[in-house]
């Protein structure tokens, strides 16, 4: 029952925000309260040694909890709580500066909070789903809940980004639905034993799945959830949506939503018949490599620092797909966790930079160390961490990936990672170094940006701690 | 059951259809009059008109060549010749040979070609415009017609018109019902476009800019005009007859019931055309190709259904 509550609680708060407390500071309080309650509930549910009953309805398992969903549920809830805390200061600052600069209206607080909470609820549903149909419904619902958030700053560009996001993701997810249906017909055993779309039943019946149907299903699933995850030939919506959305929303999109779509693909890899594992892995590695190449190509000479971060997400999703394709599932989870924390922190910092300089163009941002030293420090550390500089957990996962992979793959990945590093480092240095800008950013904006450093700093500490722990852990056990 | 071979009866039906063909226009006009709440012209009006016209003298423009005079006769003969290959009711045509379906289609094509040539021969700009539209639509319609022939040929495994239209060949269980419906629908559209009926051409319009068939025959008078009217009615009759044979149910009992059902279906199509003309408006010329390509798509779907299911 508490599993259903995890999904319903944020929805309840969302309704409250829409109906009762629409004005002033109330919606933001409600957002923070909702996030904290969700976090507490998730911690209670995922306590070690506690088993929650699966929720089923008319013989169909709807929600359940396994090892992977415990991990990602905790992570998502934690990230959301961080972002909610950040929103408390960011939202008023953004509104104030926006109206001062004449940017027009931003979204009303009640609607913003309601969409954020609904988004959290749908992501929890994705993570808890243990029926592939429910999983599909939930993934599509995350698109719906997050699309309005992209037009936070109402303007032609964000509208364009939202339209692309809606259309491309919906078509992609439609393909995933087709794949799911193909899988439902792949069962060759007697009709009354049919597993339907229940995950556990399918896993038990994986040997009875027809291999050609499963192959077709997996291709559609990979294209479908791959679109949502931002794997390369299908990634086109991602840079637009992530760069046009406001900082907190991009942080959630990049840090939590991509993990949810990854989970969709992971479920299908888990139920692949043994003789088809190789097929699935080859496809995953191919798409992952493609994403890596595209990301490296677009990060070099990128002119927009938020787009740079978005392409870095494409890169890391590609890496996660490659790791999954090599069969190192646990390593993929660690990689995604590291990426989520770091990327959330980076997007939040990018939001502060945007507040100060009011532009997303790299060459218009100069001398950050002079103007906003705290944010600049965080920005440098964040970029270094996301590129996999040693104390970062991403360093460990990338190292293991390169050493465990076949030579050609490892060498290619390493080269591409180096390209990405060069691109991101040069952009980052361009931004933080140099003389102070001739027209200094107004003092109010500087003050706002510098006061927004708390949560990113906390995230940096967590990531560093996680990296250190990981090194220690790897030293002590042959774990991968 | 194949068609019975009874040359005497076939010739009787053939002569009867030559006589009855102009009646179809009378029926169509009566139906339209009924829908319009009018009394309408008499059923036999076309016979009276033809009789009146045939007693007048023909007159030809001095700038025209012999094509103008030749065209009505040749196209009438071509249409009559085409009718020789249609099985009458349940009886196989005595002249049937393998491949005569193509001969049939091109005899109708020859008749149309002469009409177009004659229209251009007059040098009148309206007639030329009508000719150009007629040629444009017939190109598309011919594609549909041949797609239908392909469909029938696959069913009957023959390209002889008498075999293609044998009532047995179309009733196979299962999938063929939607396929037959598709083909019949497309063929009905072909009847409308080939005979210049309403969604494509308004036979009653008096605005030369929008006419097709009527625009082409503006320069005719007297017996030649009568011949052209008669040819048009024969063409309508023969296409309706082909569609009737396509849909004639298998379990028609004796020869008499068969023939009666055949004639009843033809009359029913005339009524159908009248209904369509009463409830529809003429399409814009730009939209006509859409409808024709759409019916081509319908026939191709039917062929696919036939081939794969």
């Amino acid at each position: 029952m508490e599993l259903v509550l995890i999904i319903l609680l944020p929805l309840l708060f969302a309704v409250l925000a829409l109906s009762l407390c629409r004005h002033g500071q109330w919606p933001l309080r409600l957002l923070q309260l909702g996030a904290v309650c969700h976090l507490l509930l998730v911690c209670y549910v995922t306590l070690p040694g506690r088993a929650s009953n699966a929720v089923s309805f008319h013989g169909i398992d709807l929600f359940g909890l396994d090892q992977v969903s415990r991990l990602f549920l905790t992570l998502t809830s934690l990230l959301f709580a961080c972002v909610a805390a950040h929103c408390g200061r960011w939202y008023p600052a953004d509104r104030l500066l926006g109206s001062k600069r004449g940017h027009g209206h931003s979204m009303r607080p009640g609607l913003f909070v309601a969409c954020m909470l609904a988004f959290l609820s749908m992501m929890s549903m994705v993570l808890l789903a243990c029926n592939l149909g429910v999983l599909w419904v939930a993934v599509e619902a995350t698109t719906l809940a997050s699309a309005p958030l992209i037009i936070f700053h109402q303007g032609p560009r964000s509208l364009e980004a939202m339209w692309k996001y809606l259309l491309i993701c919906s078509v992609g997810i439609g393909l995933a639905l087709f794949g799911t249906l193909l899988l439902a017909t792949a069962f060759t055993g007697p009709q009354e034993l049919s597993p339907g779309l229940n995950l556990s039943a399918l896993m038990a019946a994986r040997n009875a799945l027809d291999s050609s149907w499963f192959k077709a299903a997996f291709i559609f699933i990979l294209a479908g959830y791959g679109t949502k995850m931002g794997l390369a030939p299908f990634h086109t919506w991602l840079p637009d949506a992530h760069s046009e959305a406001p900082a907190t929303v991009s942080a959630l999109l990049s840090a939590s939503l991509l993990n949810c779509s990854f989970l969709g693909i992971l479920r299908f890899v888990q139920i692949a018949p043994p003789e088809l594992t190789g097929f699935c892995r080859t496809l995953l590695i191919a798409l992952g490599l493609c994403s890596l190449v595209v990301a490296a190509f677009f990060i070099i000479r990128q002119r927009d620092y938020k787009r740079m971060l978005a392409f870095s997400s494409v890169e890391h999703m590609g890496l996660a797909a490659i790791i999954l394709g090599l069969g190192m599932n646990n390593l993929a989870y660690v990689h995604l966790c590291g990426h989520s924390l770091t990327k959330m922190m980076l997007f939040l910092t990018a939001g502060s930079i945007l507040l100060t300089y009011d532009t997303r163009t790299v060459h218009a941002v100069k001398g950050m160390f002079g103007a906003i030293p705290r944010t600049a420090t965080l920005w440098v550390i964040g970029v270094l961490l996301i590129c996999g500089t040693p104390p970062s957990p991403l360093f460990i996962t990338e190292l293991l990936l390169v050493t465990q992979a076949p030579l050609w793959l490892g060498a290619t990945v390493l080269t591409l990672l180096f390209v990405v590093f060069c691109g991101m480092a040069s952009i980052c240095l361009d931004m933080v170094m140099g003389p102070r800008p001739e027209t200094p950013p107004d003092s109010e904006a500087v003050k706002a940006a510098e006061s927004l450093c708390g949560i990113p700093a906390l995230a940096v500490v967590t990531v560093l701690f996680m990296g250190a722990a990981l090194i220690f852990f790897i030293e002590n056990s042959q774990w991968v | 059951m194949m068609y019975s071979v009874n040359h005497g009866l076939w010739w009787t039906i053939f002569l009867a259809s030559l006589l009855l063909a102009p009646l179809l226009f009378g029926i169509i006009n009566k139906v339209k009059a009924f829908f319009g709440g009018r009394c309408g012209p008499r059923l036999l009006q076309l016979y009276y008109d033809m009789f009146k016209l045939s007693r007048k003298a023909g007159i030809f423009s001095r700038t025209s060549s012999g094509v103008l005079q030749l065209a009505p006769i040749v196209s009438l003969l071509a249409t009559v010749m085409a009718m020789l290959f249609i099985p009458g009711g349940l009886f196989r045509s005595p002249l049937a040979f393998g491949g005569d379906v193509i001969f049939f289609c091109y005899l109708l094509g020859l008749s149309r070609m002469l009409t177009i040539l004659a229209a251009m021969d007059t040098g009148s700009s309206f007639a030329g415009m009508g000719a150009s539209r007629e040629a444009h639509f017939s190109v598309l319609a011919e594609a549909v017609l041949f797609a239908i022939v392909v469909f029938l040929a696959i069913v009957a495994r023959s390209i002889c018109l008498s075999d293609l239209l044998s009532p047995l060949s179309l009733v196979t269980p299962g999938i063929s019902v939607p396929a037959v419906l598709l083909v019949a629908g497309a063929f009905f559209i072909i009847i409308l476009v080939e005979n210049c009926r309403l969604p494509f051409d308004d036979p009653e319009t008096h605005l030369e800019l929008t006419m097709i068939h009527e625009a082409m025959i503006l320069d005719y008078a007297g017996p030649e005009l009568a011949m052209i009217h008669y040819t048009a009615s024969l063409k309508l009759w023969s296409l309706c007859a082909v569609l009737a044979l396509l849909l004639l149910p298998q379990r028609v009992g004796g020869a008499l019931t068969g023939v009666l059902a055949y004639l009843a279906l033809i009359v029913a199509f005339a009524v159908g055309i009248g209904v369509v003309e009463s409830i529809m408006a003429r399409y814009r010329f730009l939209k006509v190709p859409h409808l024709l390509v759409g019916s081509l798509a319908a026939v191709l779907t039917a062929v696919l259904l036939l081939l794969f299911f």
């Binding site: 699309a147 259309l167 339907g196 | -």
Partner: protein
């Protein structure tokens, strides 16, 4: 009547072909509504009536399906169309007759490909659902690509979605009422949000040509809204 499933599927296919060739948006929306109604009754038609009457869940789902896909969604689309003040898709990227030909090629390709897949075995009419579903999906994608207006793209998406639903009901995939309702709800909410987006786009840009939504791309200086004339991407 064993031929009813085939007749319904063929009508479904024809409606997609007609939709591709129609320029009036109202007409397109009516066709989508027709497809929705056909989809609703399809599970009942495919049901084996000789053995048992259909259970209540099936009838309930059929009614909900007709209500959402046949009535609610078309009404939403018509509302969005009125708000955005567009009636026709003028100047599509691919002309109407050519679109019809491409739709025909898609259908032929799907049938031939399906024939190739199943080999020489004879197929029954329920199996007809697979090529029909595949070609409807592809035609929907084609409409999304070949039309300019944002609202036509929504219509294309609905056709695509209908294709998937044909596949599900043709093969009698049973994924439970709750999942089915969830899918319907998702599609409904999606069209609702897309309708709002169409309205906002029309207000912001004074047009709803999706192919002119192209300011976001990776090139130099795209921060400034209008690129200089003759400027090419690096």
């Amino acid at each position: 009547m064993s031929s009813w499933p085939a007749i319904i599927l063929v009508v479904f296919l024809l409606s997609s072909i007609v939709l591709v060739s129609s320029s009036r948006l109202v007409h397109c929306i009516q066709l989508v509504a027709l497809q929705g109604v056909l989809l609703g009754i399809m599970p009942l038609i495919f049901w084996d009536w000789q053995s048992s009457p259909p259970h209540g869940e099936l009838v309930f789902l059929a009614i909900v399906n007709i209500a959402i896909k046949g009535i609610a969604l078309p009404m939403l689309l018509i509302l969005a169309m009125r708000r955005a003040q567009v009636r026709r898709e003028l100047e599509p990227l691919v002309g109407y007759a050519l679109s019809q030909l491409i739709a025909m090629l898609i259908i032929a390709g799907c049938f031939a490909g399906y024939r190739h897949l199943i080999g020489g075995t004879t197929a029954n009419s329920a199996m007809l659902a697979i090529p029909v579903a595949a070609s409807t999906m592809l035609i929907g994608l084609f409409v999304i690509i070949a039309r300019r207006k944002a609202i036509t793209q929504v219509i294309g998406f609905l056709v695509f979605e209908n294709g998937i639903a044909v596949f599900a009901s043709g093969l009698m995939v049973h994924h439970g009422a709750i999942v089915e309702l969830g899918i319907l709800l998702d599609v409904f909410a999606l069209v609702f949000i897309m309708g709002i987006a169409v309205f906002k786009i029309s207000r912001e840009f004074q047009h709803i040509d999706a192919d002119r939504l192209n300011t976001l791309r990776d090139r130099r200086d795209h921060e400034n809204t209008a690129p200089p004339a003759g400027f090419t991407a690096e």
